[in-house]
Structure formats: structure tokens, C-alpha cells
Symmetry: C2
Subunit: 147 residues, 2 copies
DNA sequence: TGACGCATGACAGGATTCTGACATACATTG
DNA sequence: CAATGTATGTCAGAATCCTGTCATGCGTCA
């Protein structure tokens, strides 16, 4: 317990619990992705590519919450592993569209299954109304912070 | 939307929303802590010290979700800034108790106020029952992942 | 008493990420 | 048409953090 009332009680702070939950999720995801040779950032990039084929590196960076520079190296790694291909000429502007290869799609399928299992484990003790409430509450927090 | 049903729909994934919310919170906290010359890890360390004076570096590392090595450098920085003191001899075992200085307490008070404002902003659109539900849901997720 | 497990702290090395800066390409606006 | 703003990609450098490793100190147990 606290000695004074001026600070933040970590036991009541939503921010701290957010960090704790995210940390646990991060660790669980790393654990299941490591056997597949993927980091969380790699997986996240592949997942985005599956949902939005042909996006630019900068788009991927924004969706993955890393800088453009970091995404550039991530794409180099994924390309070297044969999981993605990147156009060498820009059809419009400077953006070089990125696409999944067949191998990339396979690897992503395995990774998605593993991550989905983690998500289900995380939500094992949450019923359907709770799930809906959780999504809504997290969205409210995000919107309020961005406003 | 998805082209196939094999992957994870980011729009429905709780894990992704957790990441989005945490990212927004992280950015907001960095913004208010920067003028105080503190990083989030620094602030988190000071906050833990206020609630549990005399803890070891390793304890702080666990509570802040960094490695012992990183916490060691954090403590060096905080000590150089005069915000903490670290015993040079171990009263028991090898643990060197860490304590806040008066300056550290002052700085922490300012940081806590700033972070508390961010937390309130994040929860501006959440009522009391929602707050209780959010805490409970996050705890459930964390427990389920650790099991 | 001695062996073992466990935790803490510190050091070296490497990997990853970020900050800052610059050139290019398109859209907008005067 | 020229100027400006915005967005992308890339290079160089620095900062940060982690992995691997080792020595020390305490507790437990045979």
C-alpha cells in the first residue's frame, strides 16, 4: 500500500494493468512464434500484408507501430527469407508495393493459428458480453487518448 | 476485410486493440514526461520505489518489465540525477536497497500528477461500472495468459 | 560440513530500434 | 508554371535493450 496519497496506486491504475496484460500477451506470442522463426513485428507485418496486399512500407510501419526505418529492415529480412516480394519500381509516387509470397502465406497461416490459440487462451475466462465490453472499453480509451 | 478466413481479423482481435491502446497510452505518457526529463521507464521505477522503498534492482526490473541489466543503467542515470540513492553495501544477500531522495520525491510528485491526468483523460468516456469491468477483464486476461 | 539450487549484480558483445537528415515524387495553390 | 506541403524511401550515426556469461551470497538438505 501507499505511504502517501499523492502518487498513483499501481494496484488501481488501468494504465499499469494495460501494461501488465500487454506484457503477458507479448511474452506468450513470442513463445509461440519463436519456433516459426518469426518475431512479433514480423508476424504483425505479415498479417497486415494478408489483409491489405500491396501496401507501402510506410503504411506497414504505421500499422505495426514502428518507424519507417525499422520496417525497412524488417522487409529486407522477410524478403531474404522469401516470405514477401517488393516491387522494384513505383507505379505511383515513391511507394513500392509489398506482397506476400506463397511461402509467406503458408508461414503466416501457421503463425496465425498459433497466435489465435494464444488469444483464445487469454480470453478463456471471458464470456461473450465481457468480450464485447472489453473491445468497447479499449476503443474508448484509445479514442480518448488520441483526441 | 479479409480475403480468407484463415487468419486473424485485426478489427476483432483483442490483442491488437490492446496493442493499439497501449501504444496510445505510451505516446501520451512520453509527451507529458519529456518536459520533466523522465522516460516512462524512469517514471515507472520512481513510482515503484515510492510504494516499496528499499527494494532491489532486480525487483524493480521485474516490476518495470525490463531486464536486470537495463534497470542497472536506469538506476545509474537516476542516481546521477540525484533522484535516488543506492546503498553501497548489502545488508542481506547481494541486494543493494534503493531509496528515493527528497529531490526524487518532488520529481515523482510532478510526474505522478502528469500521468494521473493522462489516465483520467484516457478514462474520460468510461463510467464507474465500466472502470470496474475494465480492471476485472484485464486481470482475467493476464491471469489466463500466465496460467 | 559440503553440495546444490536460487537470486543478485556486473561485464562484454551483439542485435534492434530510433533520431536526424536528405533526395525524390505527387498534389495543391498561387 | 513555380512554390509549397506532404509522403516515401534510404543512409548514417547513436542510443537502447537484450543475450550470454560469470562471480558472489544466502538458504536448504543430505
Amino acid at each position: 500500500m501507499r505511504q502517501d496519497g499523492s502518487g498513483i496506486d499501481l494496484e488501481l491504475s488501468v494504465g499499469y494493468r494495460l501494461k501488465v496484460a500487454t506484457s503477458a500477451l507479448h511474452a506468450a506470442m513470442e513463445e509461440v512464434l519463436r519456433p516459426l522463426g518469426l518475431t512479433i513485428t514480423h508476424y504483425s507485418t505479415l498479417e497486415q500484408l494478408a489483409q491489405r496486399p500491396g501496401v507501402s512500407s510506410s503504411d506497414l510501419a504505421r500499422g505495426t507501430f514502428v518507424t519507417r526505418q525499422s520496417m525497412s529492415t524488417v522487409l529486407q529480412t522477410l524478403a531474404a527469407a522469401g516470405l514477401i516480394t517488393r516491387a522494384d519500381t513505383a507505379a505511383h509516387g515513391r511507394a513500392l508495393p509489398v506482397e506476400l509470397t506463397a511461402v509467406g502465406r503458408e508461414r503466416l497461416a501457421a503463425a496465425s493459428a498459433a497466435v489465435l490459440a494464444v488469444e483464445r487462451r487469454m480470453l478463456a475466462d471471458v464470456d461473450e458480453p465481457g468480450l464485447i465490453a472489453l473491445r468497447d472499453l479499449l476503443d474508448r480509451c484509445t479514442r480518448a487518448l488520441r483526441a
